[in-house]
């Protein structure tokens, strides 16, 4: 089954973070992605830049980021393959974002099922 991991954390924290700490976190993500690949769980994934660089398109017009979406914002995602939700949750818990912010696990919709 395909699951999407939506990675939420406080994006502003990155602005003021020391380089040493940032590198530590990047290292953790690299190791995690590596582990996903080795287990044949990894399908796709990417970090996303700060939402100040984003645009939000509504019927009423285009809004510049950042947006007042809450204390944590979408900062990246993974797409993984797992046997069932429990296996997916195991992976989600290992994601560095789970310890910094939270990870939302959403099943992919197989249209036509």
């Amino acid at each position: 089954m395909k699951y999407m991991f939506l990675l939420y954390d406080n994006e502003d924290a990155w602005d003021t973070m020391e380089d040493a700490k940032k590198n530590e976190i990047f290292g953790a993500y690299m190791a995690y992605t590596d582990a996903l690949r080795k287990s044949d769980a990894y399908i796709d994934g990417a970090p996303l830049p700060h939402s100040r660089e984003a645009k939000r398109i509504r019927a009423s017009g285009v809004q510049d980021g950042p947006f007042a979406d809450g204390k944590e914002q979408l900062g990246g995602y993974y797409m993984i393959e797992a046997k069932n939700l429990d296996d997916a949750l195991e992976w989600a818990a290992r994601c560095p974002c789970a310890s910094i912010g939270h990870v939302e696990v959403r099943p992919v919709w197989n249209i036509g099922d």
Partner: protein, 415 residues
């Protein structure tokens, strides 16, 4: 309902639960399995109390559900759905029945999936009641004080999530179950509480889920006989249920110390004692067992005239060590007062964070009682007033008001 009819209904619900557990776990589609069995189940509930349950109840249900199962399989094929999982599951069920053994009981899988952490905590108990026992959504809704429509919506969503998000039914290794057992116990206990919250003394058609909760706990002890806390929960509920008849008299609240024990269900108390003994023998103490032991001590005190105040205080002390909830602390404080240690009880209450107790009725009732013991009448009166303001029902409110008024029967000039 007569015993025979009650047994027939229980047989229908048990067989339904077993068959639903089997079909759901193999098809991974609880809603589809429910739908396929619904007419057959309804027929069983109507006819078995009249004619008696058949010798092979699951076979009866499966046969009665066959047409619906075939229809569903046909529909799945026309919609180009992959494996008609439900039809396969039904075939497997038939194969299992052809063996000369009782139909496998997979309701443990159902209990655990209902209490899975990914299932919204508020719907776990309703889901258990609907799937394991076959209660209808309207009846469940009534106990939880929501509209049938709202309850139906939540149940549909939960079952859809099980299917679509791939929540697994496997309960393979026992070690995987241990960390998830507390959620199962909590959900079963919540069913007991739902029945409990309602006005006692109302008419018989008022919804009462305490029997269903006890059934679920008994089932759990059958399926997991080595889990001490399951037996502890069962004992706790049986003790509470056994005393139900004495809790009200003409609408008035009767405290435990004044219960007419002739109105207690002695058989149920005996069952509660046996369950607790089984739990203790397993040598794995836990909060439900301690709470059951406390209730057992209360019963012993009333029935055999033993002084158990020190025992109860000791049990509460252990409870606060392993399950430090506000309820446990308040209970402990009350127990200390009953053991002649009102000062210690008061000191304990003072350690509790105000924000956590300000809306907790039991805290104020116990505090008032302790302050009275300590001859601090004015403060006791204020505490009773807080408790009265937080009371859930008329009878409790009246009882607390009486206690408050009793404080005033002293010469003026009191503190």
């Amino acid at each position: 309902m007569s015993d025979a009819r009650a047994i027939a209904e229980e047989t229908a619900r048990a067989s339904y639960g077993r068959l639903l557990a089997w079909l759901s776990s193999r098809s991974r589609d609880v809603a589809a399995a429910e739908d396929a069995l619904s007419d057959a189940f309804k027929a069983a509930l109507e006819t078995w109390p009249e004619k008696g349950a058949p010798a092979s109840p699951e076979a009866w249900l499966l046969t009665a559900a066959r047409r619906k199962l075939i229809d569903r399989a046909r529909r799945a094929k026309t919609q180009h759905q992959n494996v008609p999982a439900l039809a396969l599951a039904a075939e497997e069920a038939e194969a299992a029945m052809r063996q000369d053994k009782p139909f496998p009981d997979e309701r443990l899988k159902l209990l655990f999936i209902c209490a899975h952490p990914a299932i919204d905590a508020g719907v776990r108990t309703p889901l258990m009641l609907q799937t394991v026992i076959g209660l209808d959504a309207a009846r469940i809704a009534s106990a939880f004080l929501v509209s049938p429509r709202a309850m139906s919506g939540r149940l549909v969503r939960a079952k859809r999530k099980i299917k679509v998000a791939g929540i697994p039914f496997d309960t393979a290794g026992h070690q995987d179950l241990a960390p998830r057992l507390p959620a199962v116990l909590e959900a079963i206990y919540a069913a007991f509480g739902a029945g409990w919250n309602e006005e006692i003394g109302a008419e018989a058609d008022r919804l009462d889920l305490t029997g269903e909760a006890i059934y679920l706990a008994r089932l759990l002890t059958e399926l997991l006989p080595d889990e001490a806390e399951g037996w502890g929960l069962l004992s706790l509920m049986q003790h509470a249920e056994a005393r139900k008849g004495a809790r009200r008299e003409g609408g008035k609240y009767i405290p435990l110390s004044d219960h007419n024990t002739a109105l207690w269900d002695k058989d149920m108390i005996a069952h509660g004692e046996a369950a607790l003994a089984t739990a203790w023998r397993l040598g794995d103490p836990g909060p439900y067992q301690l709470e059951a032991a406390i209730q057992s001590a209360h019963a012993t005190a009333r029935l055999h005239g033993r002084d158990v105040a020190d025992d109860i205080a000791a049990l509460y002390e252990r409870l606060t060590e392993i399950a430090p909830t506000i309820g446990a602390y308040v209970g402990y404080a009350g127990a200390l007062a009953s053991a002649g240690r009102a000062d210690d009880g008061f000191d304990l209450l003072q350690t509790l964070e105000p924000a956590r107790v300000e809306n907790y009725q039991a805290y104020w009732a116990v505090r008032a009682h302790i302050l009275n013991e300590l001859d601090r009448k004015k403060e006791a009166r204020a505490a009773y007033e807080r408790a009265i303001g937080l009371a859930h029902d008329e009878a409790t409110r009246n009882f607390l008001m009486e206690r408050k008024n009793e404080l005033a029967i002293r010469p003026a000039g009191d503190s």
